[in-house]
Amino acid sequence: MKLQEIADKLELEGLTPVPDRDVTGVYISDMVSDVIANAKAGNLLVTVQVHSNALAAANLVDICGIVVAQGKKPADDVLKMAVKAEIAIFSTALNRWQVATKLYEAGIR
């Protein structure tokens, strides 16, 4: 499933341009070290982290997009880093569990 398709289904607020990428799966974590060790390339990361190191970890493992839950939004400098890294950043008022549920309902397994 394409990243934009998921964003539309979940009504996510896009904070950066959305690259034309397939989502290979979802990884939910707030720990940078966990993302580095366990997330897979093409995964959509669901987190509440807005620190630049979360973006750095996502870039290292080739995450295609980050859904920042619970209404949080990264600072402008982090968004600029994401644009450069071609990683889409979305924001949603939903919590991580609600995002996970909606992703499952959208067909992501």
Binding site: D22, V32, A56, L60
Partner: protein, 182 residues
């Protein structure tokens, strides 16, 4: 969903969660760090000759090895404190400028920051280990033309960077910027 059934050549293995413990010497205020895999991170002060080291800060992290599935060889990276992304550095720094140049060629620069050595310097990461580390992370990529380049700390970054700039987990949700020197 895409199911990738191809076994990668390089795999992160022996992933051991733990803590990066940062301690400070009572009189000189020197700081140093080490990895602890203890379930409860040690916080008691202790004496080392004339020096007294006290717990200062900790971050969740992990240590790992990389296994080459073709040769069966496993390389451990116990000396690595963490990776530093060029984009998290000061925009006036040499690393940032090099990182920007590399980025134009779709190369993302990271620096492998190692733990402090007993003499106050840094542990060295041999080049052949960095080669393995680079292969492991680049093999995981799917984006066409994207490359990761993990460099040794030839910049002497450890003298000026803060632990918060390194990809460590200071607190689960806050991850506030740290201003303390590594």
């Amino acid at each position: 969903m895409v199911n990738d059934t191809t076994r990668p050549r390089y795999e992160l293995t022996d992933v051991e969660p733990g803590y990066v413990i940062i301690e400070r010497e009572m009189y000189s205020h020197a700081a140093r760090s080490y990895f602890s895999a203890e379930p409860v991170p040690p916080k008691e002060p202790y004496r080392e000759g004339a020096r007294v080291w006290s717990f200062w800060e900790m971050a969740q992290s992990f240590r790992f090895a990389v296994r080459d599935n073709h040769t069966g060889e496993t390389v451990r990276f116990d000396e690595m404190l963490g990776l530093l992304y060029y984009g998290c550095c000061d925009k006036d720094s040499e690393l940032y400028r090099i990182g920007e140049l590399a980025h134009e060629n779709r190369i993302s620069i990271y620096v492998a920051v190692t733990y402090e050595a007993p003499d106050g310097g840094r542990l060295e990461m041999p080049l052949d280990k960095l080669v393995v580390l680079n292969k492991a992370f680049n093999e995981r990529l799917r984006t066409r033309d994207k490359k990761i380049l993990i460099l040794p700390d030839s910049f002497g970054l450890y003298k000026e960077l803060s632990y918060g700039q390194i990809m460590l987990d200071f607190g689960l949700t806050a991850m506030e910027e740290k201003v303390r020197s590594a």
